[in-house]
């Protein structure tokens, strides 16, 4: 147990002293998360909302596909993205392999079905419940749509949180697509995996603590957003 306690102490020292390698992984993680979450929220919220709001032919089938994609293993996403963006792949010339945007592409694929599915579920529940209320108060189609969207905000925030948690904590895509390159594509999770393999717990614990602080901050922000 001693080495774990030592690890915690060293972790605090590393963070307080501003250890460059530790902070590099933190910055890369934040950049990748920011990129992938922006893309998945921009695409996923409107698509998920429409999937839950508007009945149309094939909606159930699309919903089934999206729900199935919730189970995508990160290593499989990593494999597919790697195959597409490696030099032999159809997108090889884009130069995305072993880059932060490359990891973000993979993580967007991971997060998109989560945002879509949970946003669709929240919309189905809320919009279905509120449709009669809003129509009976005189809302026209546009007002019905916009108010339903606003009233679904808590469910959509929850969808974003779940997706964010999945993106920040995944290892497979970051490792395969990013290559875990020190100072460039090493994220918190890939760094923890590497340091633990080397038997160096301090940096791993430090990064784990940072991950928890980030998660707490994201949740706090979401809670404040829900209150509005």
């Amino acid at each position: 147990m001693e080495f774990i306690a030592e690890g915690f102490v060293k972790a605090v020292v590393l963070l307080l002293q501003g250890d460059a390698e530790t902070w590099s992984a933190i910055v890369v993680t934040l950049r990748v998360t920011m990129l992938s979450m922006t893309a998945s929220l921009l695409l996923g919220i409107p698509l998920g909302f429409l999937l839950g709001y508007q009945p149309f032919a094939g909606r159930r089938q699309i919903r089934m596909v999206v729900d199935t994609l919730l189970f995508l293993p990160t290593v499989f996403v990593g494999l597919l993205v790697y195959a597409f963006i490696s030099s032999r792949g159809p997108l090889g010339e884009a130069g995305l392999l072993f880059t932060v945007p490359g990891i973000a592409v993979g993580q967007t694929i991971l997060a998109l079905p989560i945002v879509m599915s949970l946003a669709a579920s929240a919309t189905e529940e809320t919009a279905g419940r509120l449709r009669v209320t809003l129509m009976s108060l005189g809302a026209n189609r546009r007002q019905l749509f916009l108010t339903s969207l606003w009233e679904t905000r808590q469910g959509i925030v929850a969808a974003g949180l779940v997706a964010c948690g999945r993106v920040m904590t995944e290892v497979g895509i970051s490792m395969m697509v990013g290559g875990n390159i020190k100072w460039h594509t090493r994220t918190i999770t890939t760094a923890i995996a590497l340091e633990t393999n080397k038997g160096l717990f301090a940096m791993g614990i430090a990064l784990g603590m940072v991950l928890m602080v980030i998660a707490f901050s994201v949740n706090l922000g979401a809670m404040l957003l829900k209150r509005k």
Binding site: R129, V132, L137
Partner: protein
């Protein structure tokens, strides 16, 4: 002269199955309070949702102010408002819930005053409730806030679906009063579904009875469900829970439902031998305030009948709760409802 705000013609509705509503012709007059009663599953809510232009009918049409209308039609959209049995409030304060209808109508002036008045009509104060969110309201308070949101827009038509079914006595009283106020202040046409016969008979200008998707004016016609079996005298018969038989002319189907005109006096059919009687116990008397007549509820087996009569006949025939009396009908004059 009647001035119908709704003109219903050949209206039919169904949900992936047989029709649940079938109303051939019905007009609802402007500024009147119409009550709708009937057992669960008789199509009352389906009918009210169609009148609210929430749903699209399967067949037929509803005219509103002499013009055809449907969901999102401009002329009824801002005039008709509907309070469902379990209304949903928006996830915002009571104040914002009540002013939602005003805002989407583009009303920006005197919002505070209007919201305050609407809340006071349902017995809630702005100071105590205005800032509250839905989770901080009881069921009855939420129902009253939902009604206040409808009252704030001074509706031309107010449709209420069992508004007092799940609320306490005080909330129920406030809701009834608010519906009454809407009619007296703004000449609002009120249509209310309720199992509260006392409220309906005391407060409504007209009461519609619904059963198996059909609607008719409540009078002395009462529902007698099947199954029917042939009897020795050439009629068909169904048995009540207390063993009494109710006779009728041959039904279109053995499981058809009969509408039987009941009376405390023997109907004059020309053939007295064809008149039959049912023994029933008087259970309740309700005064119809509008007409001064009295609705007498009677229990025969497990069926409840209602016959409206004059106060003098109540005295003359001693029609008081607990008394057993014979009610008469003519089996040849039965109407049939086919499921």
């Amino acid at each position: 002269m009647s001035d119908p705000i709704y003109q219903i013609r050949n209206l039919r509705q169904r949900y992936n199955g047989p029709p649940v509503l079938d109303i051939h012709r019905l007009d609802i007059d402007r500024g009147m309070v119409t009550g709708i009663q009937g057992p669960n599953g008789s199509g009352k809510t389906t009918f009210l949702r169609l009148l609210a232009f929430i749903d699209i009918p399967w067949k037929g049409e509803i005219g509103f102010n002499s013009r055809g209308a449907g969901p999102f039609s401009e002329h009824p959209r801002l005039a008709v408002t509907f309070l469902p049995q379990t209304p949903s409030l928006l996830q915002r304060t009571v104040y914002k819930n009540v002013c939602y209808g005003l805002k989407i109508r583009g009303i920006r002036e005197d919002i505070d005053t209007r919201v305050e008045k609407a809340l006071s009509m349902v017995g809630l104060s702005m100071a105590a409730f205005g800032h509250r969110r839905p989770h901080a309201l009881s069921g009855g308070e939420a129902q009253r806030v939902a009604l206040a949101a409808r009252m704030a827009v001074k509706p031309k038509v107010l449709l209420l679906d069992e508004p007092t079914a799940n609320v306490d006595t005080e909330s129920a009283q406030r809701i009834k009063q608010a519906a009454h106020d809407a009619k007296t202040r703004w000449n609002t046409t009120v249509i209310v579904i309720s199992h509260d016969s006392q409220w309906l008979y005391e407060g409504c200008d007209r009461i519609l009875q619904m059963y198996q998707g059909r609607a008719w004016d409540t009078g002395n016609r009462n529902v007698v469900p099947g199954p029917w079996q042939p009897s020795a005298d050439g009629n068909w018969e169904t048995r009540l829970a207390d063993g009494q038989g109710v006779a009728a002319s041959p039904p279109p189907r053995p499981d058809a439902t009969a509408l039987v005109e009941l009376s405390f006096d023997r109907p004059e059919t020309g053939r007295p031998e064809t008149v039959k009687g049912i023994e029933a116990m008087v259970t309740r008397l309700i005064l119809e305030k509008k007409t001064g007549r009295i609705a007498v509820s009677l229990l025969a087996g497990d069926l409840v009948f209602t016959i409206t009569t004059s106060p003098s006949q109540i005295e003359q025939k001693q029609l008081y709760p607990g008394k057993k009396r014979t009610v008469f009908y003519a089996p040849d004059h039965v109407e049939w409802l086919v499921p």
